[in-house]
C-alpha cells in the first residue's frame, strides 16, 4: 500500500528531481574515462611554446604589483614568457605601479584611455605577436608557480582552443569571501568534469589561455554585455572548437568582500550569461552538434536561475508562514514552552521526500566541493567555509538572480563595479 500525501512540497519536486539528475550526470562523467585521463595527466612538457600573459588593469593599485610578481615567479623558461600590462585609463595609482615594472625584460607596459576590459585585452593580443599561447589574468589575481606548466600541458590536442585554470579565493577573510571559497571549490570540480566532455561556456578572466590562432580565426574580444570571457567561449564553442581545463593550475582571485560588491559582480555575470545565451548565442541552446553544451549545460544553467528563484520564493513563504505562526503562539504561551526539549522518538523524524532529496543534494554538493579542493590541491580551510556557505548562499544568491532577471527583462544597463 502506498501512503503519500499532497502538500505544497509537490511544486518543488520537479526542481529537486532535475537537480538530482544534474548531479548524477556529473558523477557518471566524473568517473568516466575522459575525466579520469585528465586527472592523471602530468605537466611534463614535450614542447615549450612561447606564451604571453596579458594583464588588463583598471584602478587596481592595491593588487597589481602582487599579480605581476606572482607571474614573474612562474616556473617557465623566461625567454619563452612575456607579460603585457595594460593600464586601461586608471584614475588611481595603477599607472605608477605598472611603470615600476617597465624596465623588466619580460614585461611590456601600455597605457591607454579607458575603453573597457575587452579593448585592453585586444590591444594586448596585438602586441603578443610571437606568442603561440595567449593568457589573461585579472589584476586582482595571483597564480601558483607551477600553474602555467599545467595549463600548457593541457593544450594536448589541436582542437583545444582554450584552457581554463582552477580558481579559488585569495585569503578569504569576510563571511562573503569564505562563502565564495566554498562555491569556487565546487566550480573547480564542475569545470573539470564538463571540460572533459567539452561542456564549458565560459573561460573566466583569471588565467584562461587561448591559442593565438583562435583570434585570427574567430576574431577578438567584444563588449558582450561586460561578459567578454563568456562571449568568447561561446564563440569558440560555436566554431566547433574545444575548451579544456587544467585542474591543478591554481589561480587565486580577490573575492568581493561585502555584499554590495558581490551583488554587483554577480549581477554582471548573470546578466551577461542571460543576454549572451538567450539573445546572441541562442543557437547554442539545444544544439545537437555539441549536445553536452546545448542539451545539458546551457539548459541547466538557465534552469539554475529559474530554480534558484523558485526555491527561494518557496523557502521564503515557508519561513514567513512558520515565523508568523511561532510569533502568534509565543503571544499565547510562554516562549520556553514552545522550544522545550522532547526526548528522541523515531515517530517524529521529519523524513519527507523534500527533506531527504534536499539532504542528498546538499551532501553531494559538499562532496564535490571537497573533491575540487583535493584534486586541485588548493590550500585553505574548506569545512568552516562550507558551513558559512550553507548559512549564506541560499539567502544571497537569489538576490542577484532576481535582480539579474529583472535587469534583463527591463533592459537595465549593468555597471562593471
Amino acid at each position: 500500500m502506498v501512503i503519500m500525501v499532497w502538500s505544497p512540497d509537490v511544486y518543488i519536486y520537479p526542481f529537486l528531481f532535475l537537480a538530482l539528475y544534474f548531479e548524477s550526470f556529473l558523477l557518471v562523467t566524473f568517473l568516466s574515462k575522459p575525466a579520469r585521463m585528465r586527472r592523471l595527466k602530468t605537466a611534463e612538457l614535450s614542447v615549450v611554446p612561447n606564451v604571453a600573459i596579458i594583464v588588463p588593469c583598471w584602478n587596481e593599485e592595491t593588487t597589481i604589483a602582487g599579480t605581476v610578481e606572482s607571474l614573474l615567479a612562474l616556473e617557465y623558461p623566461k625567454e619563452k614568457l612575456s607579460l603585457i600590462l595594460i593600464n586601461d585609463g586608471s584614475t588611481d595609482g595603477t599607472p605608477a605601479v605598472i611603470d615600476r615594472f617597465a624596465e623588466h625584460p619580460q614585461i611590456t607596459t601600455i597605457h591607454k584611455e579607458n575603453g573597457g576590459k575587452f579593448t585592453a585585452m585586444n590591444i594586448g593580443i596585438e602586441h603578443a605577436k610571437d606568442a603561440e599561447l595567449i593568457g589573461f589574468l585579472d589584476a586582482d589575481s595571483f597564480v601558483a608557480p607551477d600553474s602555467l606548466r599545467e595549463i600548457v600541458a593541457a593544450f594536448d590536442a589541436p582542437d583545444i582552443a582554450a584552457v581554463t585554470a582552477s580558481m579559488s579565493i585569495h585569503k578569504p577573510i569576510t563571511l562573503f569571501q569564505r562563502m565564495q571559497y566554498a562555491e569556487y571549490s565546487l566550480s573547480i570540480t564542475l569545470r573539470h568534469v564538463f571540460a572533459s566532455i567539452n561542456g564549458l561556456y565560459v573561460a573566466p578572466g583569471p588565467f584562461s589561455f587561448y591559442r593565438r590562432s583562435v583570434f585570427t580565426e574567430i576574431g577578438l574580444f567584444k563588449h558582450a554585455y561586460l561578459a567578454e570571457d563568456m562571449e568568447m567561449s561561446m564563440r569558440v564553442q560555436r566554431a566547433g572548437l574545444r575548451i579544456g581545463n587544467a585542474i591543478r593550475a591554481r589561480v587565486y582571485t580577490k573575492g568581493p568582500s561585502t555584499f554590495p560588491k558581490l551583488l554587483t559582480q554577480r549581477v554582471r555575470w548573470t546578466t551577461g550569461f542571460l543576454r549572451n545565451a538567450l539573445f546572441d548565442y541562442r543557437d547554442l541552446l539545444g544544439n545537437k552538434k555539441n549536445k553536452v553544451l546545448g542539451m545539458l549545460v546551457l539548459p541547466f544553467a538557465l534552469y539554475a536561475v529559474v530554480g534558484g528563484i523558485s526555491l527561494f520564493v518557496y523557502g521564503l513563504y515557508q519561513t514567513i508562514t512558520h515565523g508568523l505562526h511561532t510569533i502568534s503562539m509565543a503571544q499565547t504561551v510562554p516562549f520556553s514552552f514552545l522550544f522545550s526539549w522532547h526526548p528522541f522518538n523515531w515517530f517524529y523524524l521529519p523524513f519527507t521526500i523534500t527533506t531527504l532529496l534536499g539532504a542528498a543534494l546538499m551532501l553531494n554538493v559538499f562532496v564535490w566541493m571537497m573533491l575540487g579542493k583535493y584534486l586541485s590541491k588548493t590550500p585553505g580551510k574548506l569545512v568552516l567555509n562550507i558551513a558559512i556557505f550553507i548559512v549564506l548562499y541560499g539567502i544571497v544568491a537569489p538576490v542577484w538572480l532576481i535582480r539579474s532577471v529583472s535587469d534583463v527583462a527591463l533592459g537595465t544597463r549593468t555597471p562593471w563595479r
Binding site: M4, F17, Y21, H325, Y348
Partner: protein
C-alpha cells in the same frame, strides 16, 4: 550510442533509483507510523476494557483502580500527539488516520466516563477538560487554543484533557456533544461542566478552571507536546 547519450541514460537510471529509494523510505516510514498507531490503540483498547472490568470486579473497593486510570489518560495523551503528527504528515483526508482518530475519540470518551465513575465512587474531584476543535479551516483560534491547553496540561499534569474534532463523523461523539450541550462555536471548552466558547488568551482560559485547580503541579508523568490533547 554516443558517450553523452550513455552518460545521460546512466544518470537517469541513478536519479530514478535515488528518487525511488527516497519515496520508498518515506512510504515505509508512514506505514510504520500507522502500524505503531494501530498497536498503541489496540493496547489502549485492551487497557480500557481491563480497567472497566477491574471496576466491575472491585465493586466493593473500586478506588484501587485509580492509579491505572491515570496512566491510561497519559497514554491517551501520547497517542493524541502521534495522531496529530500523523495527520499533519499524511493529511486530514487519509482514511487510515481518520479511522484511527475515531477509535481514539471513542477511547477518550470511555476514559472520560470511567474517570467520572471513579470520581463519584471514590470522592475524588479530578479537573476534566473537554476541548472541541475543528481543523477544517473554520476555526481560526483553534491552533492557539490547542497550544494553550497543551501548556496547561504540561504545567499541571493532574488535569485530564480530552480533545475532540467537532466535525468527526462518529455517532458516539455526536451524542457526547449533545449530552454535554456543546454548541458549534469553536473552539469550545467544557471544564468540569462549565462552558467557554472562543479563545482570547491563556489568562481568560484559566479563569474557567475551578479555584485551586491550577495551583498544584502534582506530577502524574504526563508529557504533552504542543499538539498534545489538542488537535489529534
Amino acid at each position: 550510442m554516443s558517450f553523452f547519450a550513455r552518460n545521460a541514460l546512466i544518470a537517469l537510471g541513478i536519479t530514478v533509483a535515488i528518487a525511488g529509494t527516497v519515496a520508498y523510505t518515506v512510504n515505509y516510514l508512514n506505514r510504520a507510523r500507522i502500524t505503531e498507531l494501530v498497536a498503541i490503540e489496540n493496547q489502549l483498547s485492551i487497557d480500557t476494557l481491563s480497567l472497566e472490568t477491574q471496576f466491575s470486579l472491585l465493586e466493593t473497593a473500586p478506588c484501587d483502580s485509580v492509579a491505572s486510570s491515570s496512566v491510561l489518560t497519559n497514554e491517551l495523551a501520547d497517542l493524541g500527539d502521534r495522531l496529530a503528527y500523523a495527520e499533519a504528515q499524511l493529511g486530514k483526508n487519509n482514511v487510515q488516520v481518520m479511522q484511527l482518530k475515531k477509535q481514539y475519540s471513542l477511547l477518550e470518551i470511555r476514559d472520560y466516563l470511567i474517570t467520572k465513575k471513579l470520581a463519584a465512587a471514590c470522592g475524588a474531584k479530578p479537573v476534566t477538560v473537554l476541548y472541541f476543535y475543528s481543523n477544517s479551516g473554520d476555526c481560526s483560534d483553534c491552533d492557539k487554543a490547542g497550544y494553550a491547553l497543551s501548556y496547561l496540561n504540561t504545567t499541571y499534569p493532574a488535569l485530564r484533557v480530552y480533545s475532540f474534532d467537532y466535525n468527526l463523523e462518529l455517532g458516539a461523539l455526536k451524542t457526547f456533544i449533545t449530552v454535554n450541550k456543546v454548541q458549534r462555536a469553536l473552539p469550545a471548552f467544557v471544564v468540569n461542566g462549565k462552558h467557554l466558547y472562543g479563545f482570547t488568551s491563556l489568562e481568560d482560559l484559566e479563569k474557567i478552571f475551578p479555584k485551586g485547580a491550577l495551583a498544584s503541579t502534582t506530577a502524574t508523568g504526563s508529557t504533552s507536546s504542543p499538539q498534545a490533547s489538542s488537535k489529534p
